[in-house]
């Protein structure tokens, strides 16, 4: 779902690009955040809570709450609600605490 008409804002979304969500190709606009693109593609569950592994989705949408942590190009704990989507990036669901690369 995307907002198409807005009383104040004009959307100049640009040309569609694609990126990968759990190895599936997903369409997005380059002006969107990863979370917005996933939302438009129908993805509601972004990750899991670290202890009890309950589903976690978009919550604060301003990069504060740790609810939308995902793995982006192998980097864990990425706040996808404030991270712009780029062509070809690989976004994965993060199961619990992030595993940092050594």
């Amino acid at each position: 779902m995307r907002i198409e008409a807005h009383p104040v804002l004009n959307f100049e979304r640009g040309e569609k690009i694609t990126f990968f969500y759990n190895d599936k190709e997903v369409e997005a606009y380059p002006t969107e955040t990863i979370a917005a693109a996933l939302h438009a593609a129908g993805v509601r569950k972004l990750g899991e809570s670290p202890e009890l592994h309950r589903p976690r989705g978009l919550f604060c949408a301003i990069g504060n709450c740790s609810s939308c942590f995902m793995i982006v190009d192998g980097e864990p704990n990425m706040r996808v609600c404030v991270m712009k989507v780029r062509p070809g990036i690989r976004v994965e669901e993060q199961k619990g605490k992030g595993v940092i690369r050594t």
């Binding site: 704990n77 605490k97 595993v99 940092i100």
Partner: protein, 382 residues
């Protein structure tokens, strides 16, 4: 709060609370603990809470070993119904200079003489313990698997609750403003909630110990020094031990929760009660620690804070009775390693105050050592 107590303890940190507990356990139960804010609000609640047995002097190693044994069973020891959070992931002390490496070999002999299970490892051995460490510039390291860290809040509350069950009173948000001295003996404590008479007063106020002692005319060479710590977001478990360098002045550990907690010493830090956070620390700490542990480069810092070390001239605790106010005993000057030796230090003092024998000589901790030159030299302090 009554208006008379046998013993009044000033300071509600790990030292004050453990001393109260040990005194009560030995039958001196008419005890009051006075705390300016809440329990652990001073240095205890701000400390790194490391528990290290790898010391370079017999005295410190003994204090640390015997304290560790108590930390291992602190819940049962104090009757606490929650976990004190002890995590024995070991301490890896890395050596960056020849001098340090040579000192470590001597320290190992000292440690083995008091039963510390520590050993030296080469660079491959370091990699086995912490696979992602950058060993560049290192000569080797010492490791003791029984070192670790505990939760300073729970440990203090374990002692405090145990003491309270035995009859000890704890008065928080109460400021000590002065003392009464009669005929060369301490007689009373003046507080923001009134005057309390006392036979014995124990000064456990860390960085404020010298100011407190000055109120009864006692001079203590203890100065406050700010040390800062930061903690990162939690990530999956990647490191067991506390990694520490005396030469580069840093320590890093990953808590069971997954966040990484680290601190550095700044040799240029001035004497002051300032415990505010600085951006210089944040930048320098991040740079310094990621030299050795580059994997932490991608971690985000969630919190940073400062606290006071109570520094003494030889970086070791002072347990001293004021000359002009007998019965006024200061226990401070732990110089950054008070938490880890608190259990045994409290026993030493409580034994002394209840006329019981102790295998350690409490006189060695008095300020006289700065005149006689019998310093408690410790080669391994950050």
């Amino acid at each position: 709060m009554k208006n008379f107590y046998d013993v009044v303890i000033v300071g509600g940190g790990i030292i004050g609370c453990s001393v109260a507990f040990e005194l009560a356990k030995r039958g001196r139960k008419d005890v009051l603990v006075i705390e300016r804010e809440y329990l652990t609000s001073g240095a205890t609640g701000r400390c790194g809470a490391g528990i290290r047995q790898q010391w370079g002097s017999v005295l410190n190693a003994t204090l640390a070993v015997e304290s560790t044994h108590i930390f291992e069973n602190l819940e049962e020891y104090t009757g606490y119904d929650r976990s004190c959070g002890l995590n024995q992931g070991g301490y890896l002390l890395v050596a960056y200079t020849e001098k340090e490496w040579a000192q470590f070999q001597k320290n190992l002999q000292v440690q083995h003489s008091v039963g510390v299970d520590s050993y030296a490892v080469d660079l491959d051995g370091i990699k086995e313990i912490v696979p992602h460490i950058n060993t560049e510039g290192m000569l080797g390291a010492c490791f003791c698997a029984k070192d670790g860290h505990a939760d300073p809040f729970h440990c203090t509350y374990a002692y405090a609750r145990g003491a309270q069950r035995m009859g000890v009173d704890i008065e928080t948000y109460t400021t000590v403003t002065g003392f009464g001295v009669e005929n060369g003996r301490i007689s009373a404590v003046e507080t923001s909630k009134g005057t309390v008479k006392a036979n014995v007063v124990i000064n456990c106020t860390g960085g404020y110990a010298a100011q407190m002692a000055a109120l009864v005319g006692d001079e203590l060479p203890i100065t406050p020094e700010r040390h800062q710590i930061l903690i990162t977001e939690p990530v999956a478990h990647i490191m067991n031990p506390m990694v520490m360098s005396l030469h580069r002045h840093f320590y890093v550990q990953q808590t069971p929760h997954g966040s990484v907690i680290m601190g550095i010493g700044d040799p240029t830090e001035p004497v002051s009660h300032n415990i505010r956070s600085s951006w210089q620390y944040l930048e320098h700490n991040a740079w310094l620690v990621t030299q050795t542990l580059p994997a932490f480069r991608s971690l985000r810092v969630v919190r940073q804070w400062g606290g006071s070390y109570d520094m003494s001239p030889d970086r070791n605790p002072i347990i001293n009775e004021a000359a002009d106010a007998r019965g006024f005993i200061s226990v401070a000057g732990f110089s950054g390693h008070g938490f880890m030796v608190a259990p045994r230090t409290a026993i030493l003092l409580a034994n002394h105050l209840t006329g019981q024998e102790d295998s350690l000589d409490i006189q060695r901790f008095s300020v006289e050592r700065y005149e006689t030159g019998a310093l408690l030299l410790e080669p391994s302090v950050v």
